[in-house]
């Protein structure tokens, strides 16, 4: 484990405490003329250092759950506790603070800032926090140490997603939330991205939630939570996770 990892993760008491505790979450949206019940009473816990895959088809509510865990959205009812903070009652400023210091996001479509280079996209985040990883190190960790000065448009999809991962971990977050990180990628590049996630989880001990509709990815998880139609429909725990390289899809 590198020296820069958060010291608290070694503390057995803290380790035992979940990162998140979410209870009875529901979420109802109005999109245009359509009312959508995205979550219908979901409970969810995440332990420190754990890698959880949220598996489910489109519309099962997994992105909604992830957004709520990440402080990007609020549930209609229910509550989310992070450490000892209740995210559902937090102010906008408190949520910003939470996102800034504790959460790393990886999105399906990377969401890099097109006018900033790879290094600058990472630096965009490291400027915000107190003890960041140098952007170069974060990019090296995802295997992009040689493409620091390229703009997003000059990078392949897989490379862009790895920049997004580097950007998410450079602030040394407690939790990494990934929304379909390989959704827009082919198998080969997808595997490279998953390897990067795996390495971050292993070497930095960052608790990681990966959303996917691709069941094959479930193999690399400590725990798989299946969602369907806004409800949790199954949880399985893996004693031995597979390496990203061994996944088949």
């Amino acid at each position: 484990m590198p020296a820069s990892a958060p010291a608290t993760l070694h503390d057995p008491i803290v380790r035992a405490m979940p990162v998140f505790t979410a209870r009875a979450l529901t979420k109802v949206y109005q999109v245009g003329e359509v009312r959508i019940e995205a979550l219908r009473g979901v409970d969810f816990d995440l332990a420190p250092g754990e890698l959880v895959v949220l598996l489910g088809p489109s519309g099962s509510g997994k992105s909604t759950l992830l957004n709520i865990l990440g402080g990007l959205d609020l549930p209609t009812t229910g509550e989310v506790i992070y450490a000892d903070q209740n995210l559902t009652t937090a102010t906008e400023a408190a949520l910003t603070e939470y996102r800034r210091f504790h959460v790393g996001f990886v999105f399906q479509f990377y969401n890099l800032i097109p006018s900033l280079t790879a290094r600058e996209n990472v630096a965009l985040v490291t400027e915000l926090v107190d003890r960041p990883m140098p952007p170069e190190d974060a990019l090296a960790l995802v295997g992009l140490g040689h493409r620091l000065n390229h703009f997003p448009a000059q990078l392949s999809g897989g490379e862009q997603q790895r920049v997004a991962i580097a950007r998410a971990i450079a602030k040394q977050p407690s939790v990494l939330l990934c929304d379909e990180p390989t959704g827009a990628l082919d198998i080969t590049t997808g595997v490279v991205v998953l390897e990067a996630l795996e390495r971050v989880n292993r070497e930095l001990g960052t608790a990681t939630v990966v959303i996917t509709h691709n069941a094959a990815i479930a193999g690399m998880a400590d725990r798989v939570v299946r969602l369907a139609d806004g409800r949790v429909v199954g949880i399985e725990t893996h004693a031995h996770k597979a390496g990203a390289r061994d996944l088949q899809w």
Partner: protein, 794 residues
């Protein structure tokens, strides 16, 4: 691009690169703002420079506070004037208007001879000697001449001018070129516009001038300066009381002294223009900025979401986008201040043509420059903040999702008008506009503003032409007007009729008077005319030529406002010559005229009021063009004639000086309006392109040709422009009326008029700007990234 100094943080790098990538649009917005700032700085710096020059000059030259003219008073009255409470200093002098005969000029000119002390400088209204020397008291024909007159005749110290002094022609020798605070703006008596060729001011030693006009031991003009705590009104009343037995024509305060009054009006106008026109320009700029930014933010939706997800706070993200506007505004403001300073320093040279100070230096105060910059930043910030606040407030999770699919429906045009079979592309254009009416309205408004600004700019030419038409062909139908030194018996008109070349004549009686209504009063000339004058007509801006009322007095609307009287009210007229009767007169009506402050009466009631016979103080006449030379020669030798006003020269003169000045402002307005028009149109075309490029690229992938997709985008722009054209004319009329309302003062009242050709030119210019913008945008359409569009999400 990639290497940026390390100290620039990431958001600022994004800012700079984003701005660079939209540099065309940013430049278009900046140009619109810079145009506004340029006008503000140019107008206001001129205002400040003139104001400074005026304050310094009035102070240094001891410009008097009260002026009075009279028939003749003995010199010892000086002591009694001095003893009036509140009077600080008194200067009595002799002032006479004479006919001049200048070498190389066939028509006669008017010279005003003003006495200066034989020894020492004038105690008040000091004369500034630009060149040459002071007249020698022992040489009676030596004079100082006003600078503007010398310039327009190329006169230098040592040159001579012929003058008809008390019936005898004398050669005056110019020994110096001079200026006076009383003639910063020099206008001949009874004329509307300054004519530097035909009106000159001359300063002569008191003894020589007194001797020539039987004024030894007497004076006919007095100026007074007041002590700090004096009441101007009381001093004026005291002066009038003392001068009344000596034919006093009513004392006036400095603010009504001809030159000071005109300068004051001009300065006020410059100040209001300096605020109003830039305010319109900057308002348009703020609107364009708002629209551009709203749409740019729409395209940055997911980036905003990402920034927020990464932990940037709403204020931080908001500030980042407000900075876009501030950077554009800063560039615009700095450019605008620089071009404004350049333009201002050139404009002031024009002011020097008819406002003459010893020194008129261009001065741009740092406070004004800072105000311009701060003002543009503020306006840009306001334009941006509404757009930014809305964009930033969207919850990040919502912003992350692509915008919900746009709800298209069959357009109203199609539904209402079934037989109309729109082509496939036209259907897309119409539905796109109908789907987002607010956006379409914003584009229409932006382009309409461009139309409006350009329309108003061009219409000023029509406004000036209307003024010229009104003044020089409707009001003044005579070729010349002779003014007499003293009112003469009516039979003089027969003599005038017999002058060479005279075809038709019309007499007038002009008498100095003070009009009083309640506590308000004005000292001016009451003009007595024939019941329906055919040469010097009275023209109402709406009603045309007006017949004079049988009884009572007809006032300029503006004068009615100043005195606060309406038709039917009673006014006290104090005649300031002869037997000085005071009469209550009914205001028979108000005339909405264009120039100056006028009071008209029919000749007979005026004569009755004066208790005098049929007298004439001026004659208007028409001339046989072939006999002009002989007419001029004859007039130059008649001592009874104080001045000759020629319509042609007045018109020429008006065109040369005033119109030239106006034309320059018009040109500047039009040039800047064109910048706005292009900036707005180009900007809205670029915005449409960036919003639609994905759809259009998809269509290209489906097999649409470049021409077809161009038609979709350019068709939309064309429709919006066509709608904006008439709307812009409507807004233009509102702006025009607003400007004219502000423009109205005691010197000028203008009507906002626009010829059909002006509307046509406006439309053609905006259509041309649209076409050029369309072509520029079309070149980008040809370079759409077809493959990229298929791969990348929104």
């Amino acid at each position: 691009m990639v290497t940026m100094p390390a100290w620039i943080d990431m958001l600022n790098r994004k800012l700079l690169r984003d701005l660079w990538s939209m540099k065309g649009q940013a430049a278009a917005i900046a140009a619109v703002m810079a145009a506004g700032v340029t006008m503000f700085v140019a107008y206001f710096s001129n205002f400040e420079s003139l104001q400074r020059a005026r304050a310094t000059y009035y102070e240094e030259a001891r410009f008097a506070h009260v002026f009075a003219s009279l028939k003749r008073a003995p010199s010892h009255l000086d002591g009694r004037l001095r003893a009036l409470p509140g009077v600080h200093d008194v200067a009595t002098r002799v002032v006479v208007d004479v006919t001049l005969d200048v070498a190389g000029m066939p028509e006669p000119a008017t010279g005003r001879l003003i006495s200066i002390p034989d020894r020492g400088r004038p105690p008040l209204n000091d004369v500034f000697l630009r060149r040459g020397r002071w007249p020698d008291a022992s040489r009676p024909d030596e004079v100082l001449a006003s600078e503007l007159f010398c310039e327009s005749h190329n006169l230098r110290p040592g040159d001579r001018v012929g003058a008809l002094i008390n019936g005898r022609r004398r050669e005056l020798t110019i020994v110096g070129v001079a200026l006076s605070p009383e003639y910063v703006y020099a206008i001949a008596p009874g004329e509307m516009f300054p004519d530097t060729r035909r009106f000159g001011v001359f300063w002569m030693n008191r003894r020589s001038l007194g001797a020539a006009f039987d004024m030894e031991g007497g004076f006919n003009e007095v100026s007074l300066s007041l002590s700090g705590d004096a009441s101007e009104a009381e001093v004026i009343a005291g002066v009038d009381r003392l001068l009344e037995p000596y034919g006093g024509r009513g004392a006036i305060p400095q603010s009504l002294q001809m030159s000071a009054w005109t300068l004051d009006n001009e300065l006020t106008q410059l100040q209001t223009f300096g605020l109003l026109i830039p305010a319109i320009f900057l308002g348009v700029a703020a609107f364009v900025l708002h629209v551009a930014l709203t749409r740019a933010l729409g395209l940055q939706r997911t980036q905003i979401a990402a920034l927020k997800a990464l932990g940037y706070s709403n204020p931080a993200v908001g500030w980042h986008y407000v900075k876009w506007a501030l950077v554009i505004a800063s560039v615009a403001a700095i450019t605008g201040v620089a071009t404004g300073a350049w333009l201002g320093s050139n404009l002031i040279i024009l002011y020097n043509e008819f406002f003459r100070f010893p020194t008129l230096t261009y001065h741009l105060s740092p406070a004004l420059a800072l105000l311009a910059i701060a003002g543009s930043l503020l306006i840009a910030g306001l334009g941006a903040q509404a757009a930014v606040r809305r964009a930033v407030r969207i919850p990040p999770a919502e912003a992350m999702r692509p915008e919900p699919p746009a709800r298209y429906r069959r357009s109203l045009l199609e539904a209402r008008w079934r037989p109309l079979r729109l082509s496939f592309t036209m259907r897309m254009v119409v539905r796109a506009i109908e789907r987002q009416p607010v956006k379409a309205l914003a584009s229409v408004t932006g382009i309409a503003f461009a139309v409006a600004v350009l329309f108003v700019g061009l219409a000023f030419i029509d406004v000036m032409n209307t003024l010229i038409e009104e003044q020089f062909s409707m009001t003044m139908r005579q070729d010349a007007t002779l003014t007499f030194v003293e009112p003469l018996a009516a039979r003089v008109s027969h003599e005038v009729a017999r002058l060479p070349g005279v075809l038709d004549i019309e007499t007038a009686r002009i008498v100095p008077a003070r009009l009083r209504a309640g506590t308000r009063s004005r000292t001016l000339a009451v003009t007595g005319l024939a019941p329906a004058p055919h040469l010097t007509r009275v023209i109402d801006r709406r009603r045309g030529a007006i017949e004079l009322p049988v009884q009572g007095v007809l006032l300029s609307q503006m004068l009615g406002d100043i005195l606060s009287v309406r038709a039917g009210d009673t006014l006290y007229v104090e005649i300031l010559e002869g037997r000085r009767p005071v009469r209550a007169v009914t205001v028979a009506g108000l005339v909405d005229d264009s120039l100056g402050l006028q009071a008209y009466m029919r000749l007979e009631p005026l004569h009755r009021m004066l208790r005098e016979g049929n007298t004439v103080s001026s004659v208007a006449l028409t001339l046989d063009p072939a006999a002009r030379g002989r007419f001029y020669a004859a007039v130059k030798t008649r001592p009874a004639i104080a001045g000759v006003a020629m319509r042609d020269t007045a018109l020429q003169n008006f065109r040369d000086t005033m119109a030239e000045h106006m034309n320059l402002s018009i040109f500047i307005n039009v040039a800047f309006a064109a910048i706005i028009a292009f900036g707005v149109v180009y900007n809205s075309a670029r915005v449409s392109l960036s919003e639609r490029s994905r759809d259009l690229a998809s269509l290209r992938v489906l097999g649409f040709t470049r021409a077809e997709i161009s038609l979709i985008l350019l068709g939309e722009i064309a429709i919006l422009t066509v709608v904006a054209l008439p709307v812009g004319i409507g807004i233009g009329y509102l702006f025009g009326e607003l400007i004219m309302a502000v423009f109205t003062n005691e010197v000028y009242r203008l009507s906002f008029v626009a010829a059909p050709a002006t509307m046509a030119w406006t439309w053609l210019t905006v259509i041309a700007a649209t076409m050029v913008s369309g072509l520029l945008v079309r070149r980008r359409l040809d370079r759409l990234d077809l493959v990229g569009v298929l791969k990348a999400p929104e």
